[in-house]
Symmetry: D2
Subunit: 335 residues, 4 copies
Amino acid sequence: MINVGIFGATGYAGEELIGILLKHPQVKITYIAAKIDRPVPIAEIFPKFGNQLDLICGLPEVKEASDKCELVFLALPHTASIDFVPRLLSAGKKVVDLSADYRLKDIKVYDTFYETAHKDKAHIDEAIYGLPELYREDIKHAQLIANPGCYPTAAILGLAPAIATGCLELDSLIIDAKSGFSGAGRNFAASQINEDFKAYKVNVHQHAPEIDQELSKLAGKKIKVTFVPHLLPLERGILATIYVKKAQKAAKAQNLVSLYKKFYKKEPFVRILEEGSFPQLKDVVRTNFCSIGIKEETDQVIIIAAIDNLLKGASGQAVQNMNIMYNFPEQIGLV
Amino acid sequence: MINVGIFGATGYAGEELIGILLKHPQVKITYIAAKIDRPVPIAEIFPKFGNQLDLICGLPEVKEASDKCELVFLALPHTASIDFVPRLLSAGKKVVDLSADYRLKDIKVYDTFYETAHKDKAHIDEAIYGLPELYREDIKHAQLIANPGCYPTAAILGLAPAIATGCLELDSLIIDAKSGFSGAGRNFAASQINEDFKAYKVNVHQHAPEIDQELSKLAGKKIKVTFVPHLLPLERGILATIYVKKAQKAAKAQNLVSLYKKFYKKEPFVRILEEGSFPQLKDVVRTNFCSIGIKEETDQVIIIAAIDNLLKGASGQAVQNMNIMYNFPEQIGLV
Amino acid sequence: MINVGIFGATGYAGEELIGILLKHPQVKITYIAAKIDRPVPIAEIFPKFGNQLDLICGLPEVKEASDKCELVFLALPHTASIDFVPRLLSAGKKVVDLSADYRLKDIKVYDTFYETAHKDKAHIDEAIYGLPELYREDIKHAQLIANPGCYPTAAILGLAPAIATGCLELDSLIIDAKSGFSGAGRNFAASQINEDFKAYKVNVHQHAPEIDQELSKLAGKKIKVTFVPHLLPLERGILATIYVKKAQKAAKAQNLVSLYKKFYKKEPFVRILEEGSFPQLKDVVRTNFCSIGIKEETDQVIIIAAIDNLLKGASGQAVQNMNIMYNFPEQIGLV
Amino acid sequence: MINVGIFGATGYAGEELIGILLKHPQVKITYIAAKIDRPVPIAEIFPKFGNQLDLICGLPEVKEASDKCELVFLALPHTASIDFVPRLLSAGKKVVDLSADYRLKDIKVYDTFYETAHKDKAHIDEAIYGLPELYREDIKHAQLIANPGCYPTAAILGLAPAIATGCLELDSLIIDAKSGFSGAGRNFAASQINEDFKAYKVNVHQHAPEIDQELSKLAGKKIKVTFVPHLLPLERGILATIYVKKAQKAAKAQNLVSLYKKFYKKEPFVRILEEGSFPQLKDVVRTNFCSIGIKEETDQVIIIAAIDNLLKGASGQAVQNMNIMYNFPEQIGLV
């Protein structure tokens, strides 16, 4: 049984964390905080947690959090985590940071895409990119987890086995992704999504370099994807439709569905569909699963990966990482 | 002033046709029909047309329609038009067919994709593909219009100028399209789309050969696109995100936005956005417009085309074709 | 042909006004303004008006508006109109105010419900409540129209004929109203309505005294309704379900449907359904109509009235009022 | 640990039952069936249950179900349960029937509202109305549970304590209820609800006599409510807004909020909000809770009750009943 805290408890990711952790048999939430006008009982903000969580939500205080918790989840807006991570770590706490602040190893790329100057390079180097399917061993011993972005989780899980084969043209990766509006935060206007649909940040989204970084590592050479995110008129879920050319030589050397199944065969939260079947959001929403469907054409592959952006793409994965860090059964508290 | 009839008046496309034609100053709707259990006043089916259209909707009768109209719109399910087109034409009527029945010039392709055996090859040859931006002159003199499919309208308008340049790798065309559920008809289940999103008929959709046919004609060589349609949880609109590789030589020889503006400069219903701007569905829904945004990358082009699938993708375009056939101002009755 | 201006052009009501007036054959929009950071072409804010309205939208200036227009629509938040109305009127302009600022004749009630101190009592007295079905003659000669609220429009039209009969228990009026989120403005958060539904301001909504005022006038005695508004997860439309006890004596003296039909028989925008039929939002959305269905039970009446809150409940009614003020055909420009 | 079966496993209620029971530590699902063309693995119908439930779903067979289960949930359309209940009971099985077939004690009322002739009066008499808050003791020993309807659950829980006080005018009960479309079944058309809202079966809905029956029992005299259901454009949840006149004498003799809290103080799934607070659907959706808010006016009370129609209004309550029947902790498996 461990005590944990949440900074940013009132946002979408914070709400999900509370919901998951309240049912987690090995965890007690002992501290919550958020950028808030005045301290209020959390049940006032989320009536559904009434009688389940009797905590006051005030402004984040490192000292108080450190006294009360051994691990802190940071569900803060980008750039806000940098203020807290060094202090929490030096207080000996473990941190799972759901923001983008410690994901990009190249600090200049971070500064460019997040339009700021990162002040904590030391911990960028230390941080473990919390994608269990790729970094499980490192996560076990991590003090600081940089929890992956939602789009990158879908894109990287959808592409990792294929890249490992060496059978694809890696300079032709196209990721056409569609996300629910919860990715844009609690205050996103209804008038901006109702009966509407659009692409945004076309090939300039801040998650692109995160995808590039991880795929490049897998490929052993520099990869730059084409990444076009779109905004869906629904709350939760990401579906990424991925197009990749086959390398000339590859032809039909291997069956990709088998290969994906093998790659992920021990993974508790990745599901590979049979050839010709594709996931829909409903299959993964309110679960921590990533579902992947694959179709091989003569000279091209179409891969569709679906996740719940708030779970496998944020809070669910954060708890999965915590489970690994504490050697809990990896699926505990998650569905 | 002309008298027109509508077969299939109770479906989505029929409803839109009625709505448009009731406000069209040169047209009187004198006959409506649909596959229906018993004849009923149309205002019983669509209360909103009460006091505006005092017609009984019964089963389609060629004789009665021919007596009452000089042009008939067929807003019927695929394969159903083939029963009516020959008889209407031999009665000397003009026909705008909104189904797919006369769009594909290669009858074998039709038979394969629509799982039937087409019995009216003669009129396939005669039919004019009703995309005014490409075939305006032929439409003027047509007796039979094969009104384009919704996805093909967006895809072809989005690609026509680029293909004409010869600066693209035409074997790398990827069309990732997203449509509202009205494309799936009036009875599509809410439980299948609510808070959900999915791809369907992945690279095997029946609109793919229609796109291939028209792009091949433009390119002067056989083109086969990768086409993945998706189903949006909203009623109206198609947004197609198109990815094309540049041909090596092209580099940056021409500015695509200028080129598109020039190509469409006299078109009343095509809008080209400035470089870096992209359309969203709200810009085109309930209009007959196609809006197109373009972004050139070093070795690739991203094009986004948006239409209302029920208007520019069906009934609006059908009326635009009628306007051309009768030498009415092309925009009359349309917005 | 008249020149008109719009203050508050960027909100929902302003957008609707622009859309309607652009198609109005007797009107030219010559001035638009809004609370905005810097002046921008209106087509930048609403791409759909591109090529149709070539005006810059800056901060509202009474002088410039007065020079350019003879009538100004104020589509401003409540309390904001009070700054402009006196100046526009003294410049000899006609004003249609879509805010609540001149609707309530009792200034104390206004101050209570809108939590402010009204500074322009004089014009409250002068203002004509712009519900054409009740005040058409006064509207013809008005300088200042207080355009009715959305809920009051539905409630008053739904109750006026019944109250006139004297056959109801007027102290038992219950109005259970449901509105789309556009009533809450452009910035209302998607997370607050998506897959959600709730009552709000239960029997304390600021539209209740407006309903009371008008019904009391009709009844010739003080009426206080029970009014519970709810927020629907859709953009446009209000549906009000109204419950009224019959007065003992009334029994079945009169047929209410006939009575309603007679009351509204010359009204271009009120539709009375046959007994047992009830309107749904789809029947009225994107029209200026109010549709009303009625069911008489032994000792009670159930009335359902539906409007588009942005049209008959705001901008459509504003244009209807303008048409009356200028002796244009009342339906012109409206559907 | 008990073995249970589900008839009607493919509908909304069946899907929810599977989801709940898969996580229920005391239950094993050993048999599922539905009206289906050919037997298929349940994971083919619901991919999300892949790896969790390895059963074939075929047509319902009483013999097989009886061999494999000790309790059967019937999640069938109305009138369909009557074929199975007698046979399951005579095989010694316990039955929780989610249809309306055994709820109405007056068989003539059933026959009228469900337009059929009930053939199993004997078991109507035996059946226990499965609303734990009223009939917990009877449920403990029941063989056949008539699981309450969704609207009745909200309405009865919302009114039971008030009726018990004797302080209300019971002939003035108005229930204005709003339900998500899942209440209308899996195949309800998207075009019928998208951006739409309407009342239906105005004061003639088949759940009205069920509400009347239970409230009359509580009041000790015949009650007939006014009941108007509406259809919301969202999937899950019922919110009932209830209006009741106070009896003259009552004035303010008792505080209703306190009274409600006392009435339900031991109930694990009823939540009474503070005076002036009201529930919204989000507070109860995906939970088995009923949340109730109350506002007392001078001569009237407004009560708002919210539930998830598929959980407390159907499958959750069914499992709650099972828990009681087997003396499991009542909340087990439910949230």
